[in-house]
């Protein structure tokens, strides 16, 4: 059972509705190219073969705001506050229409990023930390959050492997360096600092993401097993 426990105001009134959420909310967090989706793709078949129904959800995939957000990011007029709120709209649409109904139906919800990436990105863009946290105060506290932690030096080869540096993943909207690479390094360092600071604030399970893929999967399975519904 996922507890009806929140970081802030339960603006969706889940408590008032006395929701019962027999599913589990499992979050994988970490920066770009750290290997989150690789792990999720390995965990899903494992869960399903053990008989658990699984749904996954990730950022910018909401029916409502996903396409509009992607389009807005292609232009050159998207300001930081608008960007944050577009992401919040996308998150809440998925939260209300995918995550909650699946938890209600007893699914294991595997979430590729949750509010923490969004808070980290907002913080790096100089938004008020109290403001962004109050918006995401409506989010359920997950049953567990795995944070795939990596150093900037270990991250760079992975990005090269994935085809190089992306405009947004390099924080080029803030131009933190004269080119994509330097901006990427400065931006990701700031993000990693934010994640580290959030680790204790939000009680992340920290996973060393520099280890081989198979070992990380085993570690995640081991930590997930006691959290899964039994029988």
């Amino acid at each position: 059972m996922t507890n009806l426990s929140f970081y802030g105001i339960d603006a969706i009134h889940l408590k008032k509705r006395e929701e019962l959420l027999p599913g589990r909310l499992i979050v994988i967090e970490g920066t770009d190219s750290v290997g989150r989706s690789t792990q999720l793709n390995r965990l899903r078949p494992w869960l399903e073969s053990s008989g658990y129904a699984v749904i996954d959800t990730e950022m910018t995939r909401s029916v409502l705001a996903g396409p509009g957000l992607k389009k807005a990011k292609e232009g050159h007029t998207l300001g930081p506050i608008t960007l944050n709120l577009f992401y919040a709209t996308d998150f809440v649409d998925r939260f209300e229409n995918q995550i909650i109904p699946a938890l209600r139906a007893g699914f294991i919800v595997l979430t590729d990023r949750y509010i923490y990436s969004l808070i980290a990105r907002a913080a790096v863009r100089d938004t008020d930390p109290h403001w962004i946290r109050s918006i995401y105060g409506l989010a359920l506290k997950p049953d567990v959050t795995f944070y795939l932690k990596i150093s900037i030096n270990d991250l760079i080869p992975r990005v090269l492997q994935h085809g190089g540096f992306d405009y947004w993943e390099s924080g080029m909207d803030m131009r933190l360096g004269p080119d994509l690479f330097e901006s990427f390094v400065n931006y990701q360092k700031r993000l990693l600092d934010q994640f580290d600071a959030m680790s204790s604030e939000y009680g992340f399970q920290v996973i060393d993401a520099s280890r081989p893929i198979e070992q990380i999967t085993e570690q995640l399975k081991e930590k997930m097993l006691p959290l899964l519904p039994q029988g």
Binding site: G8, I9, D10, A11, I12, H13, V63, L64, A65, P67, G68, L69, K71, A72, G75, T77, L78, G79, P80, I81, T82, N84, L85, F86, A88, T89, V92, D93, E96, N97, D126, T127, D128, H130, W131, S134, I135, G137, L138
Partner: protein, 252 residues
Amino acid sequence: METYGLHQYPGRLFIVEGVDGSGKSTQIALLRQWLISEGYPVFFSEWNSSPLVKQTTSKGKKKQLLTPTTFSLIHATDFADRTEHDIIPPLKAGAIVLADRYIYTAFARDVARNVDRQWVRELYQFAVKPTVAFYYRVPLEVSLNRILTGRAELKYYEAGLDLGLSSDPMESFKLFQERIVNEYEAMVDEFGLTAMDATLPIPEQQRRMRHIIRPYLRGVRRLRSSAQESAWAGLAREMRPSQAEGHGGSEQ
């Protein structure tokens, strides 16, 4: 990022609020004409008009994808885009910005939709506090009468049909508007809105609005002198064409 009440800009921000049919759009349009004729640089921003966000909002409405919370968030996103592009930069440059509907519209509508009152106020913390916020107060029967006469159909969200107050659109609209009015009335004190009597003749309302605004215009830089003054200047130029040529460019 600066939050509500803490922005310090040389410009002025005047906004109008009120239910549909209160006549607020008429009043701000008249104010705009006057300010322009007085030679002030005037910018205008309308509710729900961000080119970046509009498409998402109309898709959500058309396909009825919106919950009260995402309805609230997508309007906040629209407002954020306008704040970052149409409101803050002109205010920093010393202009007068006018807005037809502002954050109080969101507070009234979203709370009428049962969104948490405190949560939606936090959501709009990034907004600039208006120099003066006018609330056009009108009895519900009057505004309903103005809006519903000769109107074929009410839209789903507009009528508040998502709330399930009534399955009849007209009845639902009335109940929804009543809730909105109650929220506005409570906000007059909470946010220091300037309540205006929207049942008065239009010119009288406008006279009062200008009277309230005039003291706040002191110190605002004009692009050129007022229409009356420039008429005099034009006359002077006609009489002395050679000397007046130098500053013709600023008369546009």
